[in-house]
């Protein structure tokens, strides 16, 4: 189909440019993805975009796989593969170069300072993640109770986290949260 070929080109251009712009993580370019996929190219409706976003958040794996779904809707399986590779490759190349530099600079004071100084900042950002996730999931007191119990279990015992998340999913499935 001629349309599909054109869509493939749009997919390639869109995601390879968003890749390098996604500074601070994939979520930062989602508004731009929405603008292009819904308004510019009419690949899907706004509601469909919101549902795909929800799927990508809940499904296992990096949430950036939202682009796989957008590519699929735009141009089938080829579109899905192209979107995923286009989103990963440019930024991935840059990250690879930085990681080489990071390993080579192992003895520099900057490396030492980043390694020691960024740790407390990361812990703060992680607490933010947990906080924002709980708000997004619309936690009520029962969900908080479950979260609290799981946190305790996970912190003071050696229980395999798979069992904890699986158990929590089971409790949810039974309709208790």
């Amino acid at each position: 189909m001629k349309d599909e070929g054109l869509n493939l080109i749009h997919v390639l251009i869109l995601f390879s440019s968003l890749s390098l712009l996604s500074i601070g993580g994939g979520n930062t370019v989602i508004p731009e993805m929405h603008r292009k996929a819904v308004d510019s190219y009419s690949w899907m409706s706004g509601n469909q975009f919101a549902d795909l976003f929800a799927i990508s958040q809940a499904a296992p794996g990096p949430s950036i796989l939202l682009v796989t779904l957008i590519g699929y809707k735009a141009a089938g399986i080829t579109g899905a593969i192209l979107a995923t590779v286009a989103m990963i490759l440019p930024a991935g190349t840059l990250v690879y170069l930085v990681s080489r530099f990071w390993i080579r600079s192992a003895d520099s004071p900057l490396h030492f300072a980043i390694e020691r100084g960024f740790a407390p900042l990361t812990v703060g950002l992680m607490l933010t993640s947990g906080w924002v996730m709980s708000k997004a999931a619309d936690h009520d007191w029962r969900a908080w109770l479950l979260t609290g119990a799981c946190t305790l279990l996970c912190t003071i015992t050696k229980t395999n986290p798979i069992l904890i998340v699986g158990g929590a999913a089971l409790i949810g499935w039974l309709g208790w949260v």
Partner: protein
């Protein structure tokens, strides 16, 4: 600080490990899962090395967890290692999400998993909070790191400042505090 790296993994082991991390993150909490596996289970990185990489990976463009996979894979096996780790992280989840997406476009709703997802999200949040406690116990050992930690959470989590604004303010203080005092470290 890379003395934590025990044995160099093979390409297959990198791919399988990141595949395992990825599939386990049902409901979210991917960062906590990578730390669990990379630091505690495999001992491929020390706690501080992993934490610093995590924040660098947030600053750099690209999905955070894809970036972490590149850092870990490249550390051991260069470009092939990075590719193997990213492939492991994304391939099966991409197949899975395509199946979910195809089902969604077919029936115009997600297969009824809402309740289970809600529970899994509670578990994933717990994993993330427990990571905060575990790593906090190791690196929040005096008042300055405590202040850095609290300020980062307050600005980013409560006031909802964007990541860059937060780090522009806190990272310089963190680096000054952490800069090696004498030449002999």
């Amino acid at each position: 600080m890379s003395e934590a790296s025990a044995v160099k993994p093979s390409l297959l082991e990198l791919a399988l490990t990141f595949n395992h991390i990825s599939l386990a993150s049902f409901g979210g909490g991917l960062s906590a899962w990578s730390r669990e596996v990379v630091v505690e289970e495999k001992k491929w990185m020390s706690e501080e090395e992993f934490l610093s990489i995590l924040t660098m990976c947030r600053i750099l463009p690209g999905a955070n967890q894809v970036n972490v996979a590149i850092f870990v894979g490249a550390k051991f096996l260069g470009i092939p290692g990075a590719v193997a780790a990213v492939f492991g992280l994304t391939f099966l989840p991409a197949v899975l999400i395509l199946l979910l997406g195809a089902a969604y476009f077919q029936y115009s709703h997600v297969p009824a998993l809402q309740n289970a997802l809600k529970g899994a999200a509670a578990g994933a949040i717990a994993l993330t909070l427990s990571m905060v406690v575990k790593t906090g116990r190791k690196c929040l050992l005096s008042s300055i790191p405590w202040i850095l930690f609290a300020a980062t959470f307050f600005l980013n989590g409560i006031l909802r400042w964007p990541l860059f604004g937060v780090l522009a303010l806190t990272a310089p203080f963190a680096l000054i505090w952490a800069w090696p005092k004498s030449k002999a470290k």
